[in-house]
Amino acid sequence: MLEIKNLVVQIEDNRILNGLNLTVNDGEVAAIMGPNGSGKSTLSYVIAGKEDYEVLDGEILLDGNNVLEMSPDERAAAGLFLAFQYPLEIPGVGTMTFLKACINAQRRARGEGEISTPDFIRKVNAAADKLEIEKDMLKRALNVGFSGGEKKRMEILQMALLEPKFCVLDETDSGLDIDALRIVSEGVNALRAQGRSFLVITHYQRLLDHIVPDTVHVMSKGLIVKTGGKELALELEKSGYADYRSEAA
């Protein structure tokens, strides 16, 4: 379970989050929607532990442990995963090399043994097939020269291999065409299992047609201003964010 209590965050003296509260239960898929500049991406970065953000107040508890006291890699080993809106390119580093290094780093941090090479290859191949990732892509340097859709599928592949407890998807639908959106969503849905929770950040309803959320939160000016079921997303699609902009102002 992830609990965010009274989270206040600023970056270079600009207040972005203003005492945000949010709870995502085990196995729950929560969507966060909101206009540009409402603090959605900031929230995802702060959960994952990006440096530039100054946390002035509040707590983020993953199963009762305050992740704000952990480094980003410790958070990853504790089960936090962030699918990036803009995945980074790592020139010269083969995708397989990267994947294996990450899996083993997390296993070591949890005091588990390293994965054997045959197990690793089997796992990657199985996950790659589901996401329609070509073998050739796995041989290339990570994300270098990948199309937007390929990068997003690679994020979901990593998520599948690392088996996190809590996944944050930051605008995973941006830059995806219909087919890629379907593949990515199916990949995510396949990972919806008892115990695993998701925080899906998006501007648009269309992603939520594919990844159907249990709850929808509306974010504005660094706060959750409304919470409802999946029908709230449909409502927003019709009325837009105008109401919420003024509501929070």
Partner: protein, 489 residues
């Protein structure tokens, strides 16, 4: 890159005291008197029992050296070296060993600690024949052991300390010594010509592919001692040799001077692959101590269709001044230079290459990867030139610099001279930083700071690492990670 995991483990296991080869061997040494004079030159020559012409050659070099000025064009700064306060010769006191059993056990232990096997029996066990490496171990001024000599001589390969070659094959040495790097070439090369004490000599006869890797391992141990080694490699027509050089030194507060000369000669259709893993003591984080590495390395593609390839991984030394070069004299000859230069702390590197195209249809390729961290300065300096007669000369140069942190510097200084209109030279250069976003991305996947840096840096240098013989590539990869330990805040 199967070694990444190993690299990461290695990085994790080391403590803050990064330089693991910094120990000192306590052993009785015989030294020349402090300082440099004709008498010292005579002393060195006499110690080596050299022919008269060699002594004259040295004295001539010494006299020339007295008239020369230390060069100051490189982008490095250091306190003036007091050449009269150095020892120019230091050798273990025990008489030269005829077999390994006679080597001072302290020296054997030193090389064991460094991971350099000198006992052939141990080397032989469990190693496939093609993976064997013949080693010449140079301790301060003298060679203390050369392995696999017998087996090499069966193939007609001569691999021995140059001091021994001067006695056993004087004509061969005389024919080639100083023909690639002339006695008067530059201040440091001239000094080396006067006082060089040992180094390796290699001769590969026509048509022979050297049956194993050859390697020289240099160790500076004594305080205030300069190491001036001289290496001469001749690949006769149609032959092939791959040669590797490794270097370490103890940690000392004062600077030690290393001024080596390496000459390579490739005759028609011959190929020489020369790899260096340089890990001299770099000094501490404040810039105290460390090796001054002023080295002249040059290869002469003397024959048609000959090829010389330099690969270097430079992680050590307080100051590096080094430009392994190729003279492409033979028609259709080819020169290559692959370099990874890592600087951290207060290290200063000014390194690169020269590709001198003289013959027709000559080609060269330069791939240089500079990585700067800490408060270090890293300069690539390279010359590509085409002579009037170098019809259809081709060069491709790629210089990439990677900066870690914001207190270091990377500089690229290319010189291009073409006197032939048909020459085509290409130059590419990039400078990048390991971005905080890349680091965060890797960390979000579970990699620690060090692991993420090692991974990104390994990716950056991959093209060059691929040029190294496999086992050295693994070693080089570890070395790079260790050198950068603690460089990311």
């Amino acid at each position: 890159m199967p070694a990444v995991q190993e690299t990461i483990d290695r990085v994790r296991s080391i403590d803050l005291d990064q330089y693991k080869y910094g120990f000192e061997t306590v052993i009785e040494m015989e030294k020349s008197v402090r300082g440099l004079s004709e008498d010292v030159v005579r002393f060195i020559s006499a110690k080596k029992d050299e022919p008269e012409w060699m002594l004259e050659w040295r004295l001539d070099a010494y006299r020339r050296w007295l008239t020369m000025q230390e060069p100051d064009w490189a982008r490095v700064s250091y306190d003036k070296i007091d050449y009269n306060n150095l020892y120019y010769y230091a050798a273990p006191k025990r008489p030269a060993a005829l077999s390994l059993d006679e080597i001072d056990p302290e020296i054997l232990k030193t090389y064991e600690k460094l991971g350099i096997p000198l006992r052939e029996v141990e080397v032989l066990e469990g190693i496939a024949p093609e993976r064997r490496v013949a080693v010449d171990a140079v301790f301060d001024s003298v060679s203390v052991a050369t392995t696999f000599k017998k087996e090499l001589s069966k193939a007609g390969v001569i691999f021995m300390p140059i001091s021994e070659a001067l006695r056993e094959y004087p004509d061969l040495v005389r024919k080639y010594l100083g023909t690639v790097v002339p006695v008067t070439d530059n201040f440091f090369a001239t000094l080396n010509s006067a006082v060089f004490s040992d180094g390796s000599f290699v001769y590969i006869p026509p048509g022979v592919r050297c049956p194993m890797e050859l390697s020289t391992y240099f160790r500076i141990n004594e305080r205030d001692t300069g190491q001036f080694e001289r290496t001469l490699i001749i690949a006769d027509k149609g032959s092939y040799v791959s040669y590797l050089e490794g270097c370490t030194a103890p940690k000392r507060d004062d600077n030690q001077l290393h001024a080596a000369v390496v000459e390579l000669v490739a005759l028609d259709d011959a190929e020489i692959k020369y790899s260096t893993v340089q890990n001299w003591y770099p000094g501490d984080n404040e810039g105290k101590g460390g090796i001054y590495n002023f080295v002249t390395k040059r290869g002469d593609c003397r024959g048609a269709r000959s090829k010389i390839s330099w690969t270097q991984v430079e992680t050590g030394s307080a100051i590096t001044w080094k430009y392994p070069s190729c003279i492409l004299r033979g028609d259709d000859s080819r020169g290559e230079f692959y370099s990874i230069a890592v600087s951290n702390g207060m290290q200063q590197v000014d390194s690169g290459t020269k590709m001198i195209h003289l013959g027709k249809n000559t080609s060269s390729r330069i791939i240089s990867k500079g990585i700067s961290a800490g408060r270090s300065q890293n300069t690539y300096r390279g010359l590509v030139s085409a002579h009037k007669k170098a019809k259809n000369a081709r060069n491709f140069t790629n210089c990439d610099s990677l900066l870690i942190g914001d207190q270091c510097g990377a500089h690229t200084v290319p010189y291009i001279e073409s006197k032939n209109a048909s020459a085509v030279f290409e130059h590419e250069a990039t400078t990048s930083k390991i971005s905080e976003d890349q680091m965060f991305y890797c960390q979000q996947r579970g990699l620690s700071n060090e692991e993420a840096t090692a991974l990104i840096v390994n990716g950056f240098v991959r093209d060059v690492l691929q040029q190294l013989p496999m086992e050295f590539a693994v070693e080089a990869q570890k070395l790079i990670s260790i050198s950068l330990e603690g460089s990311v805040g």
